[in-house]
């Protein structure tokens, strides 16, 4: 197991190296060159000169690359043109919101997806099966932002049962020890605030969670259909095991392996889906900040976020792989 983990960690080295080279080239390919791109078009010659000497843009490329990596390793991604704040501060402030939203979306997707996929497979060919298959096809083709619009219109604008935007009612006065608003409400004993934050999460979480939901339903269904035809399930049935025991010990345990991988992969992908969802619901996470950065051509912010999100994505996949090795010993020896 240790060898497997070490080998998997070593695979990270070329990926992180490649990623940093890619991003390094990207900043240099931006319109107007790196200094203008990072400072904005209204930058004065003095500012440009300062950035050029700070980033060593007059020195050889490999030196520039090393200083870029050094700064990135120290989490120094420069400052936003728009707010003049260091990009890393903005990430720290906004990331909890996106994590909270992603967790809510994943709870929605897993909580509905696994039971739905399981029952669709057990009732193969019935209306429930057909409905879940066609529903999941629709789920992967409906654009996140369109679904977000529909939900917002029906439940927030028309029916008025849920809030249209933001993370918390501005009239509430709440302490934020963790910056996870639902948790903050619970920790400080402010049930009202927790309930309010939860209400703000519902629509964005459904919009963001629908693609993972559709994929989890499909994978669970396919995987359960595979497993119920395995010899060991037939053997278990033949030796007279109770149906519930077969389901728990033989079907579900084996069918959940591919589902676990998909859940991990989808968790990483939520980060890019969050850009669209957070924009529609004006949810103050990293996603809506990326949207702002795109419209302002705030490349320093984009650079920081791309690196940040990519590293998170790579790490999530690493955790998925390693936990997969823990669950399924066959993976380790591959």
């Amino acid at each position: 197991m240790l060898r497997f983990v070490v080998r998997r960690l070593l695979l990270l080295v070329p990926i992180l190296f490649g990623l940093s080279v890619l991003l390094f080239i990207w900043v240099r390919a931006l319109p107007g060159g790196p200094a203008v791109a990072l400072l904005g078009e209204r930058a004065t010659p003095e500012q440009i000169a300062r950035i050029e000497s700070l980033y060593g843009l007059d020195r050889p490329l490999y030196e520039q690359y090393f200083s870029f990596v050094r700064r990135a390793a120290q989490l120094d991604f420069g400052a936003s043109i728009r707010t003049n704040q260091p990009v890393i501060d903005e990430i720290q402030r906004r990331f909890p919101a996106t994590i909270e939203l992603s967790v809510a979306a994943m709870i929605f997707a897993v909580g509905i997806g696994i039971p739905l996929g399981y029952f669709a497979a057990r009732r193969y060919g019935t209306w429930l099966d057909n409905l879940s298959v066609s529903g999941s096809l629709l789920g992967i083709t409906i654009p996140v932002f369109f679904l977000a619009f529909i939900l917002k219109y029906i439940f927030a604008v028309k029916l008025g049962v849920l809030p249209t935007s933001g993370r918390q009612d501005v009239r509430l006065i709440v302490d934020h020890p963790t910056n996870f608003y639902v948790l903050d409400g619970l920790v400080t004993g402010n049930w009202n605030a927790a309930w309010d934050a939860l209400q703000h999460l519902i629509l964005p979480a459904i919009a963001l969670g629908t693609i993972p939901l559709a994929i989890i339903v499909r994978i669970t269904r396919a995987s359960v259909l595979d497993v119920v035809h395995e010899d060991y399930v037939r053997t278990a049935e033949a030796k007279g095991l109770v149906k519930g025991t077969i389901t728990r010990r033989h079907v579900l345990r084996n069918a959940m392996l591919p589902v676990a991988t998909i859940i991990g992969l989808q968790t990483g992908l939520l980060l890019s889906g969050a850009i669209l969802t957070e924009t529609v619901f004006a949810f103050p996470g990293v996603g809506s900040f990326v949207f702002g950065a795109i419209s302002f051509r705030d490349y320093a912010v984009l650079q920081g976020f791309i690196l940040f999100i990519a590293v998170i994505y790579v790490l999530v996949n690493l955790v998925v792989d390693i936990s997969y090795g823990l669950i399924d010993p066959r993976v380790r020896v591959r």
């Binding site: 490649g18 890619l22 096809l137 654009p143 369109f146 850009i275 419209s295 994505y313």
Partner: protein, 303 residues
């Protein structure tokens, strides 16, 4: 029937490689009997026809004001304007119709670019193996380590605001997907019995790869190509929604139309619904056909 027949012919012509007739012939028979495939093909055909004949079908100009609107009153569907007017007084139906053009162009061009790039890389890795394979696959790993939409955003932002940037951005995101798929297929085929048989008969490596391994590896690539058209349409709409679409804001793009009507959601929700449905139906067409194609070609998916 003849509609979907034409569709498959287009599919085959698009992917542009020769395949053993019998395998595809069999698949074609199964496909024709699948109602899901027919629905998908009809949706695609509708979408393609609307895109091609947009100037004939659109009752008004998509870019000119044809009626009066204010931010608080945007007329909905009437007999003259079947889908109503947009926030700037333009005919919504004509804009949705012209939007199909942008989607189709972006989808097809980015698929061709992305699939070509991916197939070349995959071919390189699958045919040569060894360090070439290792190098190509590490590059693919790196490209896949950035979530697709974010990658497309980065590329489109660097290339500047234009439809070409959108196409290149989406194509680049698809390159590693096709490369990994084709390479995996070729590796699986290379170790198959018939490749071994050919090798033991003394057939040259190049001929084994080109005449046996490659033709037998393309079916999943065709399936992926069809599904990629769906994601390309959705991704293009997402980029355009985020303000990274074409340079001219008056040219109708479904994603941007949705973004522009955000402010009027309470007054004129129909303005979000029509372009949204257009995206869903065109993407659904390619998804349905792609899924049925996969079922028809790959026995694993049949039960």
């Amino acid at each position: 029937m003849s509609l979907s027949q034409a569709e498959l012919a287009v599919e085959r012509a698009d992917s542009g490689e020769e395949t053993g007739g019998s395998l595809l012939g069999e698949a074609w028979k199964r496909l024709r009997r699948n109602p899901v495939a027919i629905i998908g093909a009809v949706l695609i055909l509708l979408f393609v026809l609307v895109a091609i004949f947009a100037p004939l079908l659109a009752p008004f100009s998509p870019t000119e004001r044809v009626g009066q609107t204010t931010p608080t009153s945007i007329p909905g569907p009437t007999a003259e304007h079947l889908l109503g007017l947009d926030d700037l007084g333009r005919d919504e139906l004509s804009r949705v119709i012209y939007g199909a053009r942008q989607s189709l162009i972006v989808g097809v061009v980015s698929l061709i670019l992305g699939a070509t790039g991916g197939i070349l890389l995959g071919l390189l890795a699958g045919a040569f193996g060894g360090w070439v394979d290792n190098l190509v696959m590490r590059i693919v790993d790196i490209m896949l380590s950035v979530p697709g939409l974010l990658f497309a955003i980065a590329v489109a932002a660097a290339l500047g605001q234009s439809l070409t940037s959108v196409m290149i951005a989406i194509a680049v995101v698809n390159i590693p997907i096709f490369a990994r798929l084709l390479r995996g297929q070729m590796l699986a085929q290379r170790d198959s019995d018939y490749a071994l048989a050919a090798r033991s008969l003394g057939v040259r490596h190049r001929d084994i790869v080109l005449k046996h391994v490659l033709p037998n590896s393309v079916s999943p690539v065709i399936v992926q190509g069809t599904l990629t058209l769906a994601t390309a349409i959705i991704d293009a709409a997402a980029l355009s929604f985020l303000g990274l679409g074409g340079a001219d804001p008056s040219v109708p793009e479904w994603g941007r139309m949705l973004a522009d009507t955000q402010r009027y959601l309470a007054v004129a929700p129909q303005l979000a619904v029509f372009p949204g449905l257009a995206i869903v139906f065109s993407a659904l067409g390619f998804t349905l056909l792609g899924e049925s194609l996969r079922e028809a070609i790959d026995p694993k998916y049949r039960r």
